[in-house]
């Protein structure tokens, strides 16, 4: 009985998210465009997330390198460390970790902000002022999240590789140019493009879920907290689901070799 109820709740929620996404494509992308607010959101979502993404990327590259070194040394392939770390970061770890950090920061922020606006009737006030709140608040945030995450991922990857370079140089001395030449010599179009393309979907998922949870927040401060929390949880799960589907697709297309 409880299982049936859970399943029904799951399908109900999925349906509502799908309808919300449908509304974004039918209403949110039509003129009048809120260009000023979109640029403002790009600044908030993109530029203001950069320090956090950069810091986590740097640590991720550093730690990954230090952790991998003993295993590679054991097999006598320590020289392949830059290649291994580079491929891992660019193809998988960089996009997924950046998206998860992004979901934690931006998903919760959007969920809480819109939830709070809903509870304090600011969304109604906006509608009364002749503004379509769905376009002004939702569409701009979803588009900004979709556009900013790929850029942040590329920057995060670059900083991560720099962290890896520092990690390599803790125990040995490697030339900066040689280190990056080794990485870029190994990486191909098939490594980079699927990784970049899937980050657009990650960004869309984070923006969509954050807006959905905030826009449909129930009354009260507890509702706002719950919106922020469930926005992070659901968008994180969605990131893994999208990643799994993307890997399956690239495998079918033969891009994983």
């Amino acid at each position: 009985m409880a299982l049936t109820w859970k399943a029904s709740e799951f399908f109900d929620e999925t349906g509502r998210i799908a309808r919300f996404a449908g509304r974004f494509f039918t209403m949110g992308l039509k003129p009048r465009y809120e260009i000023k607010e979109l640029l403002n959101q790009c600044f908030i979502i993109g530029y203001k997330s950069l320090p956090l993404i950069g810091l986590t990327g740097l640590i991720m590259g550093l730690v990954l390198t230090i952790q991998l070194r003993p295993s590679l040394t054991a097999y006598g392939v320590e020289s392949q460390l830059p290649v291994m770390v580079g491929v891992a970061i660019v193809r998988e770890i960089g996009p997924v970790i950046t998206a998860l950090i992004f979901a934690g920061k931006i998903g919760s922020s959007i969920g809480a902000e819109l939830g709070s606006m809903k509870v304090t009737e600011q969304i109604d006030a906006m509608e009364v002022s002749g503004t379509n709140p769905f376009k002004y608040l939702v569409a701009t945030r979803i588009v900004a999240a979709t556009l900013m995450l790929p850029i942040l991922t590329l920057l995060g990857d670059a900083i991560s590789l720099f962290g890896s370079y520092i990690g390599v140089n803790i125990r040995s001395v490697t030339n900066f140019r040689l280190f990056f030449w080794q990485i870029f010599d190994t990486l191909s179009f098939g490594d980079l493009m699927p990784a970049v393309i899937k980050t657009f979907f990650f960004g869309f998922a984070v923006g969509l879920i954050g807006c959905f949870k905030g826009y449909n927040s129930s009354k009260g401060t507890q509702g706002v907290g719950s919106s922020a929390n469930s926005a992070v949880v659901l968008s994180s799960v969605l990131i893994f689901v999208i990643d799994f589907l993307a890997v399956q697709l690239t495998d079918i297309l033969g891009l994983n070799y």
């Binding site: 606006m117 109604d124 006030a125 009364v128």
Partner: protein, 260 residues
């Protein structure tokens, strides 16, 4: 003249009502699940008239004005604002008619990420795209002058007191110089002195701009100060309507409980 619900005269012909009657609510029904909030409710508001809708908490007063401005859709019935049936209007038509209607929210609903100036500019920018910054600045300062808060123009809402927030919200409501203003419990949560100031502001601005108003309230001082006519909303219906003094003298138990 005090009129009991079952004596309510037949509503005027909508064609005939245009001009004289600003808002005509005809036989509206609204329910949320099994809870019937408005049950065949009728109301007419005339030009430059202040109508107070009185009722207990949860009686459906806020639902009524949200239906009038199109934030909620009634299940049945017509709501004519300047002769146009609000529930049947498209989004663009609603936006057009909303320029003539101001709405003061119970919790003020000021945008907390914007300064007072930006809060007041927001509706102007949405409706009057062609206006220069100089015109916008002049209108913002005029609106703030009306409520005596020009010095708060660059402050954030969090820096203002409850009474000041209400006055800024009132300034934002008035900035497009609407013909009709809907007040959702304008004095709730304010001390008696500030509440009286808000009442006086409502009357002052109504006289200055010749607006019609629907004021939702259960603050009897506010009702007494602002009402030309009082409508008592009970069990989703218009139980009685009349002047404040007439209702105050009534011996009906359901009416008396509001005046005790």
């Amino acid at each position: 003249m005090m009129v009991l619900k079952n004596e309510t005269p037949a509503l005027t012909d909508p064609q005939k009502s245009i001009g004289e009657d600003v808002i005509v609510v005809e036989h509206i029904f609204k329910r949320f699940g099994p809870n019937v909030v408005l049950d065949d409710f009728n109301l007419v508001v005339k030009k430059e008239e202040n109508v107070v809708v009185l009722g207990k908490s949860g009686a459906g007063k806020s639902v009524l004005i949200k239906c009038i401005i199109g934030l909620l859709r009634p299940d049945k019935g017509r709501i004519l604002v300047f002769g146009e049936n609000v529930p049947e209007l498209s989004h663009d038509e609603l936006d057009r008619i909303r320029t003539k209607i101001g709405f003061l929210f119970q919790g003020n609903a000021l945008y907390d990420s914007m300064t007072v100036r930006e809060n007041l500019e927001f509706p102007l920018r949405r409706h009057w795209i062609g206006f220069s910054q100089k015109d916008v600045d002049a209108l913002v300062m005029e609106a703030l002058e009306n409520v005596g808060l020009t010095h708060t123009v660059d402050m954030m809402p969090e820096e203002l007191s409850g009474g000041m927030l209400k006055r800024v919200a009132l300034a934002r409501t008035m900035i497009l110089k609407p013909d009709v203003i809907l007040y959702d419990e304008p004095t709730t949560g304010l001390d008696p002195v500030t509440a009286r100031e808000i009442d006086n502001l409502i009357i002052k601005l109504q006289r200055k701009y010749q607006t019609s108003s629907i004021i939702i309230s259960h603050d009897m001082n506010c009702v007494k100060n602002t009402a030309d006519r009082v409508v008592l909303l009970l069990d989703g219906k218009c139980y009685i309507e009349g002047a404040y003094e007439e209702l105050e003298r009534s011996n009906d138990e359901k009416i008396k409980q509001f005046f005790e």
